[in-house]
Amino acid sequence: MVGPQYDLVGNPLGAVRATFERAAVAAAAESGGHEPVAAFRGKDWGAGEVFRSFLFEQGGLDKVPVLDESNLGLIKPNTLVRFRGMVQDMLGNEFYVGAFKDGSTWRTNKFSDSSPFSMPHPCDSHLWERHLFHCVPVPGQNSWTRESSPGPDVRRMSSCLTPEQREKRKRGADNDAMDVSENGNGEASSSKKPKDDDVQISNSSLEMSMNEEHVPEINGGDHHIPGSSFSCLVKVYDMAESQVKLNDVAEFIGVYTFDPELAAPSDNSDDIMFDLIEDVTAQLPPSKVPRLHCLVWRNLSAHDFLSRPPSVEPSPILLKGIRQSLLSHLTLVLGKDELAAQCLLLHLLSRLRNKVDVVTVGRLSLNFIGFNRESVSIFGNQLNNLIQRLLPYSQAIPLSIEYLNTATLQPRKDNHSGRLVTGVLQLPQGTHLTFDETLLQSGSLTSKGVENTMLLKNLMESQTVEYDFEFYKLEMATDVQLLTLSEGKSNILPSDLIVPFRPSSVPAVNANSEELESWRWYLATVKSLSQSTETETYQIIQDEMVSAMQDDRSLGCSELSRWLTMAQIMAASFGENSLNMNHWQMVKELERLRKERLQ
């Protein structure tokens, strides 16, 4: 299929249906008219291919607007949009009439909530299924990821928006009533003529109704997810549900639909018994939670948030240079405490690599001790700012008695509504959390407080978070980097690495954006480096460990394991694929300096 006959951004469903009808005819010819579309259940008949090649090979991706809170009311239904978010809840499957026979033609409802063609009644039809995911903007997502994500800037929007709309978008999010009405006009005067008249009609009618009720509600801000103002119900087709995991961050590209009918509350009174059969989506009114019928999706990694995807190979020399600049910056931020900066760098580069029973390998949680309230306000803030600008997702949590007693850390399934109520600890892989423990004073914890501390401790020790499903708890694996700032060693949040913080100057540095970008790239790249170390090195390290144990009998499994983790990260930080003894010695030196401080 060369060159899209359809405007894939403006009228994706047209393309979907056209390909379907063509495929159906072909299949009918092949099978002799017997159940021609049955084979399409759970399969792609070529529509996905068309979109994939358009998006990724013909650079169509840039033309697709990103659906977010600000433009929710502005994007036309039944157009192609992108949504980046975290899978917050999996709402199970939905059965729908996937294909039906309209006269002699087979039609499909795939990628839409309702068909523009009225289904003849009765008719031959097939029931297919799709998966529902409730997605929210990634918790703790830092602003740079949004700026730098290759979003549709104003010029690129031209393909699906009218000049008036473009004007609106430039003005930003202050979409007042004027905007809305203009928007409606814009739609009417749209020069784009969708192939299908039916679609056109339903579009404009939907647009109108949306303008009337949709936008004000968004501004009203009745949110279902605490801490998040916006969410999206993504319907995913043709894949095993296991491909997507809870808390995955993904980009979904698909058809944005808006169907007020679905929102219409059923006022039928002899309906009591259906309350329980009522499916969850009823609580997500389309006016507040947009529907997205996903055509193409992909998991996002830290690399995908970089504004300029690296064109260079991560060579050790290049990485080494960036490492040096990042390290000196960290040193400055930490008041010229080089040891702390070294440890922080290793901490920032740590990730969970392996999990054996209760043992987690690769994590390196860090506890800076020697902070008080004043120094936290100086260094802590600087540090948080820096982390925010370096990592895609980060959160700073002020750990106080009150916070522990009141905050909802644990995600909990509300069996009444059938939804997963999110908690602070529902986090995507690779999130960075900073705890400020200087705020913690003596005081009693309520049972909730105890639960919360247990959750935090579990997270620290085994990188798992227990989700509460009322009748049982389910442990979800996480990979979260944890940094604690405290006065003395924190026993509530037992970290792997405890470093006394000794600043000698006040932090006064600012990084320019170019530097920041290179550091982001550095962190993302180094984290994803794979390591392969020769067996000989491991043999030497084993000997080293044995002799270290002979020297200091207090060394235990956890210390030695941490040393090795640090050595591996150290190697990676230089862009090396394999660990050598230099790195091991560097780590030993770090440890020596750290131990000196601890005494």
């Binding site: 729908y96 009439v97 009225s118 018994m273 059969i277 029973d357 069996n415 004073q441 499994c557």
Partner: protein, 854 residues
């Protein structure tokens, strides 16, 4: 009708084809309320027959969602047709149901007679097929009849009993008739399969049709045996050959019979559903004939039917004369073991009727056999467009509770619900249990279990064995006199830092039911709340929390036991022997159960274990508390290069991208947990006579060892506490083999375990012998003797050197004198204690540093 096909709910205005007072079926009007749906089934059955007569209409494999959107005559008719079917099944796609316009009422009525006749089916010459299926009504009819009449349980084969002569289900039917109570016949699908695989296949594929026929055959049978029996008997199929995972239900399962397992998470309230309405005339008081309810709609008579009255609009509903049926919707959720990693549990709605209502409560694990249904999402009544989305639910046929909840939570609640499940055996667990039993028969199960416990920690095999015993536990015993003996085994691990004690504890915490892991530093034994404290000097924060109450019937793991406050520790005395905790609050003293095993680990006071000092001196724990531990293990870091190398290798292999650790055969964690829970729950071993004898013999021998000939001093090597420990240990060892009898070898192993532990902890380092006094009093016999000697020497010295009422002497001087005299090393504190003994004798008086003879 709507009762069964919950999803059906048609527009209220439609007149009901089901309200057919003229129906020739005797059961229709006279059936008890709960049979309403079945009566529908029979009528539905009637309408099945027209299908073959109008095959041309079938062009559509799938009927549309309920026809309420097509007000045209044809649409209405088709809906009626379908509704007629829907007592049990609302219209759903992919069901073999016709949507043709058949004028029904009369035809259906006509057809009813020959078919309910039972024999009529056979007499019909042309085979009647249910449209769209390969079901021949007659064939199925005959097959079911054969099954009911002739199926014999192979398990009954051996018995020769005249009553057994009848088939299994004929007997069941007779029983129902005799009791007059049963409204349902439970049919084991395995039996159906054994008898007639073809029938089974049809039943699973076309449950609606086959079950309808099943009901008719059943009623027919009943009518022949007992013509006056009026209650309707429902067929409840259970125990399908295969069950579906909740998350794997997909469109192809719709309208099929499925069996799923899950946990009930929500139940709706019971919804009373009007089945028959009775009206009374307000004018003359005349009671109308019961009016059948059609899908939530009752047609109120406009005119009083009494000849003399004929008042219009005078009829009023009499609630207490109406008949209601129960209905309930429950939500079923996947159980944790079926959820793939990184997924959330799926749920499905299940519709329950009549007797099944309230058969399960939230939290129950159940296995449900039912028909998977889909119905189109409701659209506003004015909407013409049809929604393409369907909701799904399961029409429940049979509910069976599997386990209460988690396998290991000991729950004495009765899990048998006679209505829901007559088979007490738990299929869900049966194969699991079988596997566990197989495991238990392995000759090396003891070693295998030992290996499986914390496989990442080596050596320490005997410690692990002790921990295993703790997990399995002994039998608690309660004498009629009220005295009770605990079955829980308490273990203390003492050792050098960095010897993976904490890891062992963590592991145990994971394994044990209701395990609590706490750090002794700031654990208050009873507190139900927790407190954050901050060390004023270092700024370290510590969480204090109550732990023991929470771990009732579990293992309470206390790390850093030595750092526990004295106050909290004193609570442990009560916990470890009486197994209760007393809380005094607001003038009320509450005694809470704390039937917990305590697993504590302590670090030596001087950071490293000093082998020259006793356990008591190494960890500052009161001997009273120490003696309550059944096993005390010393885990010493022996500075062995071999061990170090192994540890280093292990750490390195953990970090290797592809760890190639030598795989030893171990049980995985869930199996281990299941194994332990099963043993704890089901195995209550008793001492065999030989074992008891061995126990006595061994104990006596242990006691004897203390006063070996040649040794003057009397050393206690065993006390009564030890014999209790030994019993508990041997019971636990028997449990590990799933053995109901404690054998001699268990006792021998228990002795060995105890001895290993004692050798480590209770060995008097001065003499090298085991001395229970070390644990009991903190002072070994040799030490005591040494002190006695010192006291005697001091007394002599005082007598010699000091005069009665003379000047006082400084202690240092006395010490020097003593050192001169005696060959043994004397410390000041030794002297002090000796002098204080003398003080109590009244020989001397101590004033600060000076001593005065009195």
């Amino acid at each position: 009708m709507a009762s069964r096909g919950g999803g059906n709910s048609p527009p209220p205005s439609v007149s009901s084809p089901d309200v057919r007072p003229s129906s020739p079926l005797p059961a229709t009007n006279s059936s008890p309320p709960q049979s309403g749906r079945r009566a529908g089934g029979r009528r539905r059955r009637g309408s099945a027959s027209p299908y073959p007569s109008s095959p041309s209409l079938g062009g559509f494999e799938t009927p549309p969602p309920p026809g309420r959107c097509t007000p045209s005559g044809a649409g209405a008719a088709s809906r009626q047709q379908r509704q007629n079917w829907t007592g049990r099944f609302p219209p759903t796609p992919s069901t073999p149901m016709s949507t043709d316009d058949v004028p029904l009422s009369s035809e259906a009525g006509d057809e009813d007679t020959p078919e309910t006749d039972g024999a009529g089916a056979g007499a019909d010459a042309t085979p009647v097929f249910v449209w769209g299926t390969n079901i021949s009504v007659q064939d199925v009819n005959a097959a079911i009849l054969r099954f009911l009449r002739h199926f014999r349980d192979p398990r009954d084969a051996g018995r020769v009993d005249p009553v057994m002569d009848e088939g299994k289900y004929m007997r069941a039917i007779h029983r129902i008739l005799e009791l007059e109570g049963g409204e349902s016949l439970d049919v084991d699908a395995h039996d159906v399969f054994d008898h007639d695989p073809d029938l089974y296949g049809k039943m699973v594929r076309y449950p609606l049709e086959v079950l309808a026929i099943f009901d008719i055959v059943l009623m027919d049978l009943v009518a022949r045996i007992e013509p006056l029996f009026e209650k309707h008997i429902q067929t409840r199929i259970y125990n399908l050959k295969s069950s579906v995972c909740l998350r794997n239900l997909n469109p192809s399962d719709i309208e099929k019979m499925v069996s799923i397992k899950g946990m009930i998470i929500r139940c709706s309230s019971v919804i009373p559903e009007l089945k028959e309405a009775v009206f009374r005339c307000l004018v003359c008081g005349f009671y109308s004939e019961p009016v059948m309810v059609d899908r939530g709609r009752v047609t109120e008579p406009h005119i009083c039917q009494k000849e003399q009255c004929k008042a219009t609009n005078s009829m009023t509903l009499v609630h207490n004369r109406c008949r209601f049926a129960d209905k309930q919707i429950i939500k079923l959720q996947e159980t944790p073991d079926e959820i793939p990693e990184g997924g959330t549990p799926h749920t499905v709605s299940v519709l329950m009727h009549d007797k099944l209502v309230d058969a399960g409560k939230p939290g129950d694990r159940v296995e449900i056999t039912g028909i998977y249904r889909a119905m189109s999402i409701r659209v506003g009544p004015t909407q013409r467009t049809v929604k393409s989305i369907f909701k799904t639910y399961i029409d429940c046929l049979h509910i069976k509770k599997t386990d209460k909840s988690r396998l290991h939570v000991e729950d004495s609640m009765d899990i048998d619900n006679p209505n829901a499940n007559k088979t007490t055996e738990d299929d869900f667990l049966r194969d699991k249990v079988e596997k566990l039993k197989e495991l238990s028969k392995l000759p090396d199960i003891y070693d295998r279990l030992t290996r499986s416990l914390a496989p990442n920690i080596w050596e320490l095999d005997d410690v692990k064995r002790g921990l295993l015993c703790q997990l399995f536990g002994g039998n608690p015993l309660r004498l009629p006199s009220g005295a009770s003996f605990r079955g829980d085994i308490n273990i203390l691990l003492v050792g050098d830092p960095g010897t993976s004690k904490s890891q062992l504890l963590q592991y145990m915490h994971k394994l044990s039911p209701r395990g609590i892991y706490t750090s002794g530093r700031g654990s208050s034994a009873v507190g139900l709340t927790a407190y954050v404290t901050k060390d004023p000097e270092t700024g370290e924060t510590v969480l204090e929390s109550g732990a023991l109450v929470l771990s009732d019937k579990g293992v309470c793991c206390i790390d850093e036991f030595d750092k526990m406050s004295d106050n909290a520790r004193s609570m442990l005395h009560e916990v470890m022997e009486q197994q209760t905790v007393s809380i005094a609050k607001a003038g009320i003293i509450a005694s809470l159960n704390a039937r917990t095993s305590v697993l504590a680990c302590a670090n030596p006071t001087e950071s490293r274990y000093n082998p020259r000092l006793s356990v008591i001196d190494n960890i500052h724990l009161p001997p009273t508390l120490l003696s309550r531990f059944d096993l005390i293990y010393l885990i010493l870091d022996k500075a062995d290069e071999q061990t170090d190398r192994r540890l280093a290798k292990h750490i390195v292999s953990l970090h290797f991208e592809n760890p190639n650790i030598e795989e030893i055969e171990v049980l995985d964690l869930p199996t281990l947990v299941a194994y332990i829970s099963y043993a704890r729950k089901h195995i209550q071993p008793l001492l065999s006579d030989e074992a008891a004898e061995e126990l006595t013999r061994g104990y006596v021998e242990m006691r004897k060892r203390g006063n070996s000939p040649g040794s003057r001093k009397k050393v206690i090597t065993a006390t009564a506490r030890q014999i209790e420990s030994l019993i508990r240990l041997s019971e636990a060892l028997a449990r590990m083999r799933f053995s109901e009898v404690v054998e001699v070898r268990d006792v021998v192993e228990a002795f060995r375990l105890l001895e290993v532990a004692m050798q480590q902890s209770a060995t008097d380092h001065a003499t090298g012998t085991i001395d229970m006094d070390l644990i009991m009093t903190g002072i070994s016999a040799s030490e005591r003797q040494r002190r006695d000697n010192l006291v005697a020497a001091t007394r002599n010295l005082v007598m010699e050197k000091m005069q009665l009422g003379g000047p006082s002497v400084r202690m240092i001087e006395l010490l020097e004198e003593l050192r001169k005299q005696s060959s043994m090393e004397v410390h000041l504190h030794d002297l002090r204690s000796a002098l204080s003994t003398l003080t109590t004798e009244g020989a001397v008086v101590i004033h600060g540093d000076s001593v005065k003879r009195v």
